[in-house]
Symmetry: C2
């Protein structure tokens, strides 16, 4: 067990080791929290009252996502709130996101904030401190998102990624760097052949280097990669060249990737990948369906079974 | 004048035309709002009272930035809040950012939200609606950031950029796509030679295509490019191949780019670029300096004079 001394709060296992423990216990399913008003159960939406405002909408998102956490808990150890859908409801939406992250933490989930942040130098540090260690003012620390990991975008280069790595290491957290995304148009830049290989392979090579000093007890490190389930060939190829890197695999379920497509992401020990499902697990019902909770449980259970390494 | 019919609110000039009008009137200076607690005037910080919390810190950020807007107004027509520093103070920080954007709008500034967003499909749409048209629930629209433009990251490819372009066009707004950033490590991926030219030239070529259908009365369109002042050679090269594209040029001032370095960004008609200064204009004092307001005015006036095309 790699134990890190976290400023003032004692020792805790590294992110990679905590993720491995949770995947051993509950399997590789990561439940994505992407609330969309029009898809939520009527019964939950009704709680917003009238007239509507952003705070009321955010309250509905909070209630729904906290319910999802309870329902999926037996079948998933990792959750991933998508920042965009909370930002869509403005500051009250982001306050709801912070509450949901806190609840997820209390329920024992490993939390990944999917915000795809990327900026330079001290600006990147500000995003990273918000994600991990919190805001520090006059020596006092105030938690902000307090997530276990953050997705980040590599386009800005080395000194844009390093502040995220530094802050993650300080706080015992991890990052997932976008390598090969799951969208149909991802190849526009990611597949360009650069000096003999596609751009995403260059990004993958840097991720391997950034990850190497953080490898823990399970042979996996704290600097992960986002690799879409919709590209099974690239998934297998990247698994081979990144044996010590955790993969966060989006695109399974509603986006078209199958459980079979994602198998290439697992290492032979069954670790190495978490597979995200958002709509497929959290919104598998029509909004007027009174049995929506049972449908979420069934969808989570099915994804859990399908994804077993 | 290109007039757009904006849903329910009548006709307004395009983003590119509004930006040109403001640059004609006030010059190319864009004032970056990057508040950092330790750099703010003691007199302003004192208003936070005690004990401190995130809401108190956010209140200080709001007060300082709204003061900066008043002070720089004669010398700059464009302001750019950096989302990271507001996110650093959590939801109250982001509420302050929304208030600052509203004040800037009321004072006649063109506002650029520097959030470097990037995600796929409906997730990108959620970020874009938050930035521009607002959150729509049951047919009612609630403004969120209501910025004139947003910075976006191209790494995720075509279907990640297009939702931002669509929402921007619907609302008469613009985007600035990261092409060549100002940080020393930017070249790690951006300078990779891909199929005969550096990656950033491939991104530039796509920006030219995305921008073409939006070109307005001044021969400039709504899809701009971020190109750092710290790379004057690339700035000149990109100006030549992107004649109808607005440049947002960071890196002038505190990051080391000079007024001379940025001249290559202007077209012969003096339009085509806005040049950002954050710390150089907004934090040109020691925190204990009682004359901080005068120093901001002097710094803005000097940047305005230096940057005249």
């Amino acid at each position: 067990m790699v134990l890190l001394l976290i400023g003032g709060v004692g020792f805790m296992p590294s992110f990679a080791d905590r993720l491995a423990d949770v995947v051993r216990a509950k399997g590789p399913l990561c439940v994505g929290l992407d609330p969309r008003w029009d898809s939520l159960p009527h019964a939950v939406r009704a709680q917003a009252g009238s007239p509507l405002d952003l705070a009321a909408v955010a309250g509905v998102y909070r209630h729904f996502c906290q319910k999802v956490l309870e329902l999926v808990r037996p079948w998933a150890g990792v959750v991933k709130p998508q920042a965009a859908f909370f930002e869509y409801c403005g500051p009250p939406g982001l306050a709801a996101m912070a509450d949901i992250l806190r609840t997820a933490h209390e329920l024992g989930f490993v939390t990944i904030l999917d915000a795809k942040r990327g900026d330079i130098a001290s600006t990147a540090t500000a995003y990273a401190e918000a994600a991990f260690g919190g805001c520090v003012i006059n020596g006092q620390s105030f938690p902000v998102w307090n997530a276990d990991a953050l997705t980040i975008n590599p386009y800005l280069g080395r000194d844009a990624v390093e502040p995220f790595l530094t802050e993650a290491q300080k706080a015992g957290r991890g990052v997932f760097v976008l390598v090969r995304t799951s969208n149909p148009g991802a190849g526009l830049f990611q597949d360009l052949r650069c000096e003999g290989q596609p751009l995403y392979r260059h990004v993958a090579a840097e991720v391997v280097k950034w990850n190497a000093p953080t490898v823990g007890d399970y042979g996996l490190g704290d600097v992960g990669a986002v690799v879409g389930a919709t590209h099974p060939r690239e998934l297998a190829e990247l698994r081979a060249v990144m044996p010590a890197v955790w993969f966060l695999v989006p695109g399974y379920g509603a986006q078209g990737g199958t459980a079979r497509d994602v198998r290439a992401a697992y290492r032979s020990d069954g670790l190495g990948a978490i597979v995200n499902s958002s709509r497929g697990v959290t919104l598998p019902f029509r909004p007027d369906d009174p049995a929506w909770e049972a449908k979420i449980i069934a969808a989570a259970q099915q994804a859990h079974a399908e994804l077993k390494p």
